[in-house]
Amino acid sequence: MPQLKPGEISMGTTIMAVQFDGGVVLGADSRTSSGTYVSNRVSDKLTKVHDRIYCCRSGSAADTQAVADVVKYHLALYTAQHGEEPTVKVAASLFQQICYDNKDNLMAGIIVAGWDKVDGASVYEIPLGGSIHKLPFTLAGSGSTFIYGYCDKLFRPDMTKDECIEFVKNSVSLAISRDGSSGGVIRVAAITEDGVERQVVHGNNLPQQFLG
Protein backbone atom coordinates (compact mmCIF):
# COMPACT_ATOMS: atom_id res chain seq x y z
CA MET A 1 0.00 0.00 0.00
CA PRO A 2 1.67 3.26 -1.03
CA GLN A 3 2.43 5.69 1.76
CA LEU A 4 3.37 9.35 1.72
CA LYS A 5 7.12 9.68 2.23
CA PRO A 6 8.29 11.72 5.25
CA GLY A 7 7.93 15.39 4.44
CA GLU A 8 5.92 14.70 1.27
CA ILE A 9 3.06 17.09 0.58
CA SER A 10 -0.40 15.53 0.63
CA MET A 11 -3.57 16.81 -0.84
CA GLY A 12 -6.02 15.55 1.77
CA THR A 13 -8.82 16.73 -0.34
CA THR A 14 -12.36 16.82 -1.45
CA ILE A 15 -12.79 16.43 -5.20
CA MET A 16 -15.77 15.49 -7.30
CA ALA A 17 -17.11 15.48 -10.83
CA VAL A 18 -20.70 15.31 -12.06
CA GLN A 19 -21.98 14.55 -15.57
CA PHE A 20 -25.01 16.26 -17.10
CA ASP A 21 -26.51 16.23 -20.58
CA GLY A 22 -24.02 18.28 -22.60
CA GLY A 23 -21.12 18.53 -20.17
CA VAL A 24 -19.50 17.94 -16.81
CA VAL A 25 -18.95 19.98 -13.65
CA LEU A 26 -15.80 19.43 -11.60
CA GLY A 27 -15.32 20.70 -8.05
CA ALA A 28 -12.52 20.76 -5.51
CA ASP A 29 -11.39 22.38 -2.28
CA SER A 30 -8.07 24.24 -2.20
CA ARG A 31 -6.12 22.98 0.83
CA THR A 32 -2.69 21.40 0.42
CA SER A 33 -1.24 20.19 3.70
CA SER A 34 2.11 18.89 4.91
CA GLY A 35 1.18 17.23 8.18
CA THR A 36 -0.73 19.88 10.12
CA TYR A 37 0.80 22.81 8.21
CA VAL A 38 -1.30 24.07 5.32
CA SER A 39 1.33 24.73 2.68
CA ASN A 40 -1.10 26.18 0.14
CA ARG A 41 -4.59 27.35 1.13
CA VAL A 42 -5.60 28.39 -2.40
CA SER A 43 -4.27 25.52 -4.51
CA ASP A 44 -5.87 24.62 -7.84
CA LYS A 45 -6.59 20.92 -7.91
CA LEU A 46 -8.52 21.12 -11.17
CA THR A 47 -5.87 20.68 -13.82
CA LYS A 48 -6.31 21.07 -17.56
CA VAL A 49 -4.88 18.22 -19.63
CA HIS A 50 -6.57 19.21 -22.86
CA ASP A 51 -8.98 21.86 -24.17
CA ARG A 52 -12.12 20.10 -22.94
CA ILE A 53 -10.57 17.54 -20.58
CA TYR A 54 -9.70 18.29 -16.94
CA CYS A 55 -8.58 16.15 -14.05
CA CYS A 56 -9.09 16.46 -10.30
CA ARG A 57 -6.02 15.48 -8.29
CA SER A 58 -5.88 13.91 -4.82
CA GLY A 59 -3.13 12.09 -2.91
CA SER A 60 0.48 13.16 -3.30
CA ALA A 61 0.77 16.61 -4.88
CA ALA A 62 4.08 15.75 -6.55
CA ASP A 63 2.89 12.42 -7.96
CA THR A 64 -0.34 13.79 -9.40
CA GLN A 65 1.38 16.83 -10.92
CA ALA A 66 3.97 14.60 -12.58
CA VAL A 67 1.39 12.18 -13.97
CA ALA A 68 -0.86 14.99 -15.19
CA ASP A 69 2.10 16.60 -16.99
CA VAL A 70 2.92 13.34 -18.80
CA VAL A 71 -0.70 12.86 -19.86
CA LYS A 72 -0.94 16.48 -21.02
CA TYR A 73 2.11 15.93 -23.23
CA HIS A 74 0.68 12.74 -24.70
CA LEU A 75 -2.68 14.34 -25.44
CA ALA A 76 -1.01 17.22 -27.27
CA LEU A 77 0.98 14.67 -29.30
CA TYR A 78 -2.24 12.72 -30.00
CA THR A 79 -3.85 15.76 -31.63
CA ALA A 80 -0.80 16.30 -33.83
CA GLN A 81 -0.61 12.65 -34.89
CA HIS A 82 -4.29 11.87 -35.31
CA GLY A 83 -5.46 15.20 -36.71
CA GLU A 84 -8.38 15.21 -34.29
CA GLU A 85 -9.07 15.87 -30.61
CA PRO A 86 -8.55 13.00 -28.14
CA THR A 87 -11.62 11.70 -26.34
CA VAL A 88 -12.01 11.73 -22.56
CA LYS A 89 -11.76 7.95 -22.74
CA VAL A 90 -8.28 8.21 -24.26
CA ALA A 91 -7.18 10.67 -21.54
CA ALA A 92 -8.53 8.43 -18.79
CA SER A 93 -6.87 5.37 -20.36
CA LEU A 94 -3.51 7.14 -20.37
CA PHE A 95 -3.89 8.11 -16.70
CA GLN A 96 -4.90 4.57 -15.87
CA GLN A 97 -1.95 3.00 -17.62
CA ILE A 98 0.54 5.20 -15.75
CA CYS A 99 -1.17 4.76 -12.39
CA TYR A 100 -1.42 0.98 -12.73
CA ASP A 101 2.07 0.35 -14.09
CA ASN A 102 3.62 2.48 -11.33
CA LYS A 103 1.23 1.62 -8.54
CA ASP A 104 3.98 0.73 -6.08
CA ASN A 105 5.60 4.14 -6.39
CA LEU A 106 2.62 6.46 -6.73
CA MET A 107 -0.07 7.72 -4.42
CA ALA A 108 -2.57 9.26 -6.80
CA GLY A 109 -6.35 9.27 -6.79
CA ILE A 110 -7.53 10.98 -9.95
CA ILE A 111 -10.85 11.94 -11.48
CA VAL A 112 -10.85 12.61 -15.25
CA ALA A 113 -13.82 14.47 -16.70
CA GLY A 114 -14.59 16.38 -19.86
CA TRP A 115 -16.51 16.64 -23.07
CA ASP A 116 -15.70 15.27 -26.53
CA LYS A 117 -17.73 15.02 -29.71
CA VAL A 118 -17.63 11.22 -29.87
CA ASP A 119 -18.99 10.27 -26.44
CA GLY A 120 -20.24 13.64 -25.18
CA ALA A 121 -19.80 14.20 -21.44
CA SER A 122 -17.85 11.58 -19.45
CA VAL A 123 -16.55 11.13 -15.90
CA TYR A 124 -13.91 8.53 -15.06
CA GLU A 125 -12.45 7.69 -11.64
CA ILE A 126 -8.97 6.20 -11.22
CA PRO A 127 -8.41 5.27 -7.56
CA LEU A 128 -5.12 4.24 -5.90
CA GLY A 129 -4.64 0.78 -7.43
CA GLY A 130 -4.94 2.01 -11.01
CA SER A 131 -8.36 0.64 -11.90
CA ILE A 132 -10.67 2.71 -14.07
CA HIS A 133 -14.40 3.30 -13.53
CA LYS A 134 -16.78 5.22 -15.73
CA LEU A 135 -19.56 6.77 -13.64
CA PRO A 136 -22.28 9.46 -13.89
CA PHE A 137 -20.73 11.22 -10.90
CA THR A 138 -17.93 10.45 -8.50
CA LEU A 139 -16.20 11.72 -5.36
CA ALA A 140 -12.65 11.24 -4.14
CA GLY A 141 -10.20 12.45 -1.51
CA SER A 142 -10.34 12.29 2.27
CA GLY A 143 -13.28 14.71 2.53
CA SER A 144 -15.44 12.69 0.18
CA THR A 145 -16.23 10.10 2.85
CA PHE A 146 -18.34 12.63 4.75
CA ILE A 147 -20.62 13.46 1.85
CA TYR A 148 -21.38 10.13 0.18
CA GLY A 149 -24.81 9.96 1.79
CA TYR A 150 -25.62 13.54 0.83
CA CYS A 151 -24.52 13.08 -2.79
CA ASP A 152 -26.16 9.69 -3.27
CA LYS A 153 -29.44 11.15 -2.06
CA LEU A 154 -29.40 14.34 -4.09
CA PHE A 155 -27.82 13.36 -7.42
CA ARG A 156 -30.15 13.11 -10.41
CA PRO A 157 -28.98 12.23 -13.94
CA ASP A 158 -31.26 14.86 -15.49
CA MET A 159 -29.85 17.97 -13.76
CA THR A 160 -29.03 21.11 -15.71
CA LYS A 161 -25.59 22.68 -15.70
CA ASP A 162 -26.54 25.26 -13.07
CA GLU A 163 -28.15 22.63 -10.85
CA CYS A 164 -24.94 20.58 -11.08
CA ILE A 165 -22.86 23.59 -10.11
CA GLU A 166 -25.07 24.19 -7.05
CA PHE A 167 -24.86 20.49 -6.17
CA VAL A 168 -21.07 20.53 -6.36
CA LYS A 169 -20.71 23.72 -4.33
CA ASN A 170 -23.01 22.43 -1.60
CA SER A 171 -21.31 19.04 -1.43
CA VAL A 172 -17.74 20.35 -1.28
CA SER A 173 -18.68 22.94 1.30
CA LEU A 174 -20.21 20.25 3.57
CA ALA A 175 -17.06 18.14 3.22
CA ILE A 176 -14.85 21.10 4.06
CA SER A 177 -16.74 21.76 7.27
CA ARG A 178 -16.17 18.19 8.53
CA ASP A 179 -12.77 17.17 7.04
CA GLY A 180 -9.67 18.78 8.59
CA SER A 181 -7.65 18.04 5.46
CA SER A 182 -10.03 19.98 3.21
CA GLY A 183 -10.55 23.72 3.28
CA GLY A 184 -9.92 27.06 1.65
CA VAL A 185 -12.01 28.07 -1.35
CA ILE A 186 -14.21 25.94 -3.58
CA ARG A 187 -13.04 25.77 -7.18
CA VAL A 188 -15.58 24.78 -9.83
CA ALA A 189 -15.08 24.11 -13.54
CA ALA A 190 -17.97 23.54 -15.97
CA ILE A 191 -16.95 21.95 -19.30
CA THR A 192 -19.26 21.87 -22.32
CA GLU A 193 -18.89 21.85 -26.08
CA ASP A 194 -18.58 25.65 -25.96
CA GLY A 195 -15.64 25.71 -23.56
CA VAL A 196 -14.67 25.78 -19.91
CA GLU A 197 -16.14 28.11 -17.26
CA ARG A 198 -14.23 28.41 -14.01
CA GLN A 199 -15.58 29.78 -10.73
CA VAL A 200 -14.20 30.35 -7.24
CA VAL A 201 -16.35 30.44 -4.11
CA HIS A 202 -14.62 32.20 -1.23
CA GLY A 203 -15.10 31.38 2.45
CA ASN A 204 -17.58 34.17 3.08
CA ASN A 205 -19.80 33.00 0.22
CA LEU A 206 -20.08 29.35 1.16
CA PRO A 207 -23.63 27.90 1.04
CA GLN A 208 -25.62 28.08 4.24
CA GLN A 209 -25.49 25.13 6.61
CA PHE A 210 -26.03 24.49 10.29
CA LEU A 211 -22.81 25.39 12.06
CA GLY A 212 -23.80 24.75 15.64
Binding site: Q81, H82, G83, K89, V90, S93, L94, Q97, V118
Partner: protein
Protein backbone atom coordinates in the same frame (compact mmCIF):
# COMPACT_ATOMS: atom_id res chain seq x y z
CA UNK B 1 15.22 -0.95 -69.09
CA UNK B 2 17.24 -2.23 -66.15
CA UNK B 3 19.47 0.51 -64.85
CA UNK B 4 22.65 -0.55 -63.10
CA UNK B 5 24.19 1.71 -60.52
CA UNK B 6 27.68 0.42 -60.79
CA UNK B 7 29.62 1.17 -57.65
CA UNK B 8 26.85 3.10 -55.93
CA UNK B 9 24.54 0.18 -55.41
CA UNK B 10 26.46 -1.93 -52.95
CA UNK B 11 24.83 -0.61 -49.82
CA UNK B 12 21.55 1.02 -48.93
CA UNK B 13 23.37 3.77 -47.06
CA UNK B 14 24.96 5.09 -50.26
CA UNK B 15 23.47 7.69 -52.61
CA UNK B 16 24.36 7.74 -56.28
CA UNK B 17 25.59 11.02 -57.80
CA UNK B 18 22.14 11.60 -59.25
CA UNK B 19 20.43 11.25 -55.88
CA UNK B 20 19.16 7.68 -56.06
CA UNK B 21 19.45 4.87 -53.55
CA UNK B 22 19.83 1.85 -55.81
CA UNK B 23 19.28 -0.83 -53.19
CA UNK B 24 15.78 0.51 -52.59
CA UNK B 25 15.12 0.52 -56.34
CA UNK B 26 16.33 -3.08 -56.57
CA UNK B 27 13.95 -3.98 -53.76
CA UNK B 28 11.18 -2.52 -55.90
CA UNK B 29 12.21 -4.93 -58.68
CA UNK B 30 11.60 -7.86 -56.35
CA UNK B 31 8.06 -6.56 -56.00
CA UNK B 32 7.59 -6.14 -59.74
CA UNK B 33 8.48 -9.79 -60.33
CA UNK B 34 5.86 -11.18 -58.02
CA UNK B 35 2.24 -12.18 -58.56
CA UNK B 36 -0.24 -9.32 -58.95
CA UNK B 37 -2.11 -7.89 -55.97
CA UNK B 38 -4.84 -5.25 -56.18
CA UNK B 39 -6.93 -3.27 -53.75
CA UNK B 40 -10.22 -1.46 -54.39
CA UNK B 41 -11.72 1.02 -51.96
CA UNK B 42 -15.42 1.48 -52.65
CA UNK B 43 -18.20 3.26 -50.88
CA UNK B 44 -18.95 0.63 -48.24
CA UNK B 45 -15.68 -1.26 -47.82
CA UNK B 46 -12.32 -2.35 -49.21
CA UNK B 47 -11.62 -5.41 -51.36
CA UNK B 48 -8.19 -7.06 -51.72
CA UNK B 49 -7.39 -9.59 -54.43
CA UNK B 50 -4.18 -11.52 -55.08
CA UNK B 51 -2.99 -13.69 -57.94
CA UNK B 52 -1.29 -16.45 -55.97
CA UNK B 53 1.01 -18.20 -58.41
CA UNK B 54 1.40 -21.85 -57.53
CA UNK B 55 4.73 -23.51 -58.18
CA UNK B 56 3.37 -27.02 -57.95
CA UNK B 57 0.12 -28.92 -58.27
CA UNK B 58 0.98 -30.59 -54.99
CA UNK B 59 0.32 -27.43 -52.97
CA UNK B 60 -2.71 -27.71 -50.69
CA UNK B 61 -5.41 -25.27 -51.87
CA UNK B 62 -5.96 -22.28 -49.59
CA UNK B 63 -2.67 -22.85 -47.81
CA UNK B 64 0.10 -20.25 -47.71
CA UNK B 65 -2.33 -17.36 -47.82
CA UNK B 66 -0.97 -14.19 -49.32
CA UNK B 67 -3.67 -12.04 -47.77
CA UNK B 68 -3.31 -11.76 -43.99
CA UNK B 69 -5.23 -10.14 -41.18
CA UNK B 70 -3.78 -7.95 -38.45
CA UNK B 71 -5.75 -6.56 -35.54
CA UNK B 72 -9.04 -7.97 -36.87
CA UNK B 73 -10.02 -4.85 -38.84
CA UNK B 74 -6.84 -4.57 -40.92
CA UNK B 75 -6.17 -6.58 -44.05
CA UNK B 76 -2.75 -6.88 -45.66
CA UNK B 77 -2.07 -8.07 -49.20
CA UNK B 78 1.36 -7.78 -50.70
CA UNK B 79 3.60 -8.37 -53.64
CA UNK B 80 7.22 -9.35 -53.26
CA UNK B 81 9.04 -11.62 -50.85
CA UNK B 82 6.55 -13.60 -48.80
CA UNK B 83 8.98 -14.08 -45.94
CA UNK B 84 9.41 -10.31 -45.64
CA UNK B 85 5.64 -9.90 -45.75
CA UNK B 86 5.15 -12.25 -42.83
CA UNK B 87 7.63 -10.24 -40.81
CA UNK B 88 5.83 -6.99 -41.61
CA UNK B 89 2.43 -8.46 -40.76
CA UNK B 90 3.85 -9.58 -37.42
CA UNK B 91 4.99 -6.01 -36.83
CA UNK B 92 1.58 -4.56 -37.79
CA UNK B 93 -0.07 -6.97 -35.35
CA UNK B 94 2.25 -5.84 -32.58
CA UNK B 95 1.75 -2.14 -33.34
CA UNK B 96 -2.02 -2.57 -33.50
CA UNK B 97 -2.02 -4.40 -30.18
CA UNK B 98 0.20 -1.83 -28.51
CA UNK B 99 -2.03 1.00 -29.73
CA UNK B 100 -5.11 -0.69 -28.29
CA UNK B 101 -3.33 -1.31 -25.00
CA UNK B 102 -2.56 2.39 -24.58
CA UNK B 103 -5.60 4.09 -26.11
CA UNK B 104 -8.19 1.35 -25.51
CA UNK B 105 -9.60 1.60 -29.00
CA UNK B 106 -8.95 0.16 -32.50
CA UNK B 107 -6.04 1.76 -34.29
CA UNK B 108 -7.15 4.18 -37.04
CA UNK B 109 -6.07 3.45 -40.63
CA UNK B 110 -3.75 6.42 -41.16
CA UNK B 111 -1.95 5.76 -37.88
CA UNK B 112 -1.21 2.09 -38.57
CA UNK B 113 -0.23 2.88 -42.16
CA UNK B 114 2.22 5.48 -40.91
CA UNK B 115 3.69 3.16 -38.28
CA UNK B 116 4.27 0.45 -40.88
CA UNK B 117 5.75 2.96 -43.30
CA UNK B 118 8.15 4.33 -40.66
CA UNK B 119 9.25 0.77 -39.85
CA UNK B 120 9.88 -0.05 -43.52
CA UNK B 121 11.74 3.26 -43.96
CA UNK B 122 14.02 2.49 -41.03
CA UNK B 123 15.44 -0.44 -42.97
CA UNK B 124 16.57 1.93 -45.73
CA UNK B 125 18.94 3.81 -43.44
CA UNK B 126 21.59 1.29 -42.40
CA UNK B 127 24.07 -0.73 -44.42
CA UNK B 128 23.79 -3.59 -41.93
CA UNK B 129 20.26 -4.45 -43.06
CA UNK B 130 18.51 -4.74 -46.41
CA UNK B 131 15.26 -3.02 -47.37
CA UNK B 132 12.08 -5.10 -47.37
CA UNK B 133 11.32 -6.42 -50.83
CA UNK B 134 7.58 -5.96 -50.42
CA UNK B 135 4.90 -3.49 -51.45
CA UNK B 136 2.09 -3.73 -48.96
CA UNK B 137 -1.57 -2.97 -49.58
CA UNK B 138 -3.16 -2.16 -46.25
CA UNK B 139 -6.98 -2.16 -46.04
CA UNK B 140 -8.64 -0.84 -42.92
CA UNK B 141 -11.89 0.64 -41.71
CA UNK B 142 -12.12 3.19 -38.95
CA UNK B 143 -14.38 6.04 -37.90
CA UNK B 144 -13.62 7.86 -41.16
CA UNK B 145 -14.76 4.91 -43.26
CA UNK B 146 -12.94 2.33 -45.40
CA UNK B 147 -9.40 3.20 -46.43
CA UNK B 148 -6.65 1.66 -48.56
CA UNK B 149 -2.94 2.49 -48.30
CA UNK B 150 0.08 1.23 -50.23
CA UNK B 151 3.49 1.15 -48.56
CA UNK B 152 6.49 0.77 -50.89
CA UNK B 153 9.94 -0.64 -50.02
CA UNK B 154 11.25 2.91 -49.62
CA UNK B 155 8.77 3.55 -46.83
CA UNK B 156 6.75 5.93 -49.00
CA UNK B 157 3.05 5.51 -48.40
CA UNK B 158 -0.05 7.02 -49.88
CA UNK B 159 -3.80 6.44 -49.68
CA UNK B 160 -5.54 5.08 -52.76
CA UNK B 161 -9.01 4.44 -54.06
CA UNK B 162 -7.61 1.67 -56.22
CA UNK B 163 -4.10 0.36 -56.73
CA UNK B 164 -2.14 -2.56 -58.11
CA UNK B 165 1.32 -4.04 -57.55
CA UNK B 166 3.29 -6.92 -59.01
CA UNK B 167 3.75 -8.45 -62.46
CA UNK B 168 0.43 -7.49 -63.98
CA UNK B 169 0.15 -4.05 -62.43
CA UNK B 170 0.07 -2.14 -65.72
CA UNK B 171 -2.84 -4.17 -67.06
CA UNK B 172 -4.56 -4.07 -63.69
CA UNK B 173 -4.14 -0.31 -63.28
CA UNK B 174 -5.66 0.34 -66.70
CA UNK B 175 -8.67 -1.77 -65.77
CA UNK B 176 -9.04 -0.18 -62.35
CA UNK B 177 -9.04 3.32 -63.81
CA UNK B 178 -12.09 2.40 -65.87
CA UNK B 179 -14.12 1.57 -62.76
CA UNK B 180 -16.42 3.99 -60.93
CA UNK B 181 -15.09 3.11 -57.50
CA UNK B 182 -16.87 5.78 -55.49
CA UNK B 183 -20.28 4.45 -56.45
CA UNK B 184 -19.61 0.74 -56.28
CA UNK B 185 -20.58 -1.66 -53.52
CA UNK B 186 -18.24 -4.34 -52.18
CA UNK B 187 -20.30 -7.07 -53.83
CA UNK B 188 -19.71 -5.47 -57.23
CA UNK B 189 -16.08 -4.70 -56.40
CA UNK B 190 -15.35 -8.31 -55.49
CA UNK B 191 -16.45 -9.46 -58.94
CA UNK B 192 -14.50 -6.72 -60.69
CA UNK B 193 -11.41 -7.49 -58.62
CA UNK B 194 -11.58 -11.15 -59.63
CA UNK B 195 -12.03 -10.20 -63.27
CA UNK B 196 -9.05 -7.85 -63.17
CA UNK B 197 -6.79 -10.46 -61.58
CA UNK B 198 -7.80 -13.00 -64.20
CA UNK B 199 -7.18 -10.56 -67.02
CA UNK B 200 -3.82 -9.48 -65.59
CA UNK B 201 -2.72 -13.08 -65.24
CA UNK B 202 -0.41 -14.14 -68.01
CA UNK B 203 -1.15 -17.77 -68.85
CA UNK B 204 1.99 -18.21 -70.89
CA UNK B 205 4.25 -17.40 -67.95
CA UNK B 206 2.64 -19.20 -64.99
CA UNK B 207 -0.05 -21.76 -65.70
CA UNK B 208 -1.16 -22.53 -62.17
CA UNK B 209 -2.63 -19.86 -60.00
CA UNK B 210 -5.15 -19.45 -57.24
CA UNK B 211 -7.21 -16.33 -56.73
CA UNK B 212 -7.41 -14.99 -53.18
CA UNK B 213 -10.17 -12.53 -52.32
CA UNK B 214 -10.83 -10.72 -49.08
CA UNK B 215 -12.84 -7.78 -47.85
CA UNK B 216 -13.46 -5.52 -44.90
CA UNK B 217 -16.94 -4.00 -44.96
CA UNK B 218 -20.28 -3.68 -43.18
CA UNK B 219 -21.25 -7.15 -44.32
CA UNK B 220 -18.26 -8.59 -42.51
CA UNK B 221 -18.99 -6.45 -39.43
CA UNK B 222 -15.96 -4.29 -40.15
CA UNK B 223 -13.71 -7.33 -39.73
CA UNK B 224 -11.19 -8.28 -42.38
CA UNK B 225 -12.00 -11.77 -43.66
CA UNK B 226 -11.59 -13.87 -46.80
CA UNK B 227 -14.84 -13.63 -48.75
CA UNK B 228 -17.47 -16.32 -48.10
CA UNK B 229 -17.34 -19.32 -50.45
CA UNK B 230 -20.50 -18.38 -52.39
CA UNK B 231 -19.26 -14.84 -53.05
CA UNK B 232 -15.90 -16.29 -54.13
CA UNK B 233 -17.50 -18.77 -56.51
CA UNK B 234 -19.70 -16.02 -58.01
CA UNK B 235 -16.69 -13.80 -58.54
CA UNK B 236 -14.63 -16.56 -60.17
CA UNK B 237 -17.52 -17.43 -62.51
CA UNK B 238 -17.92 -13.77 -63.46
CA UNK B 239 -14.18 -13.49 -64.11
CA UNK B 240 -13.99 -16.63 -66.24
CA UNK B 241 -17.08 -15.58 -68.21
CA UNK B 242 -15.58 -12.15 -68.92
CA UNK B 243 -12.40 -13.78 -70.17
CA UNK B 244 -14.41 -16.03 -72.47
CA UNK B 245 -16.37 -13.05 -73.77
CA UNK B 246 -13.08 -11.33 -74.57
CA UNK B 247 -11.91 -14.41 -76.44
CA UNK B 248 -15.22 -14.56 -78.35
CA UNK B 249 -14.87 -10.92 -79.38
CA UNK B 250 -11.41 -11.66 -80.76
CA UNK B 251 -12.72 -14.59 -82.79
CA UNK B 252 -15.48 -12.44 -84.32
CA UNK B 253 -12.88 -9.96 -85.58
CA UNK B 254 -10.91 -12.77 -87.27
CA UNK B 255 -14.03 -13.94 -89.16
CA UNK B 256 -14.74 -10.48 -90.51
CA UNK B 257 -11.31 -10.24 -92.02
CA UNK B 258 -12.11 -13.17 -94.32
Amino acid sequence: MTSIGTGYDLSVSTYSPDGRVFQVEYAQKAVDNSGTAIGLRVKDGVVLAVEKIKHSRLLVPHSNRRIMTAGKHIGIASAGWMSDTRHLVKRVREESRSYTDVYKTKVPAHIIAERLAMYVQAYTLYSSVRPFGVSTLLACTDAKGPQLFMIEPSGYYVGYRGCAVGKGKQVAKTEIEKLDLDNMTVREAVKEAARIIYSAHDDTKDKLFELELSWVCKESNDLHVHVPQDVYDDAVQYAERSLDDDDDDNEMDDDEDL
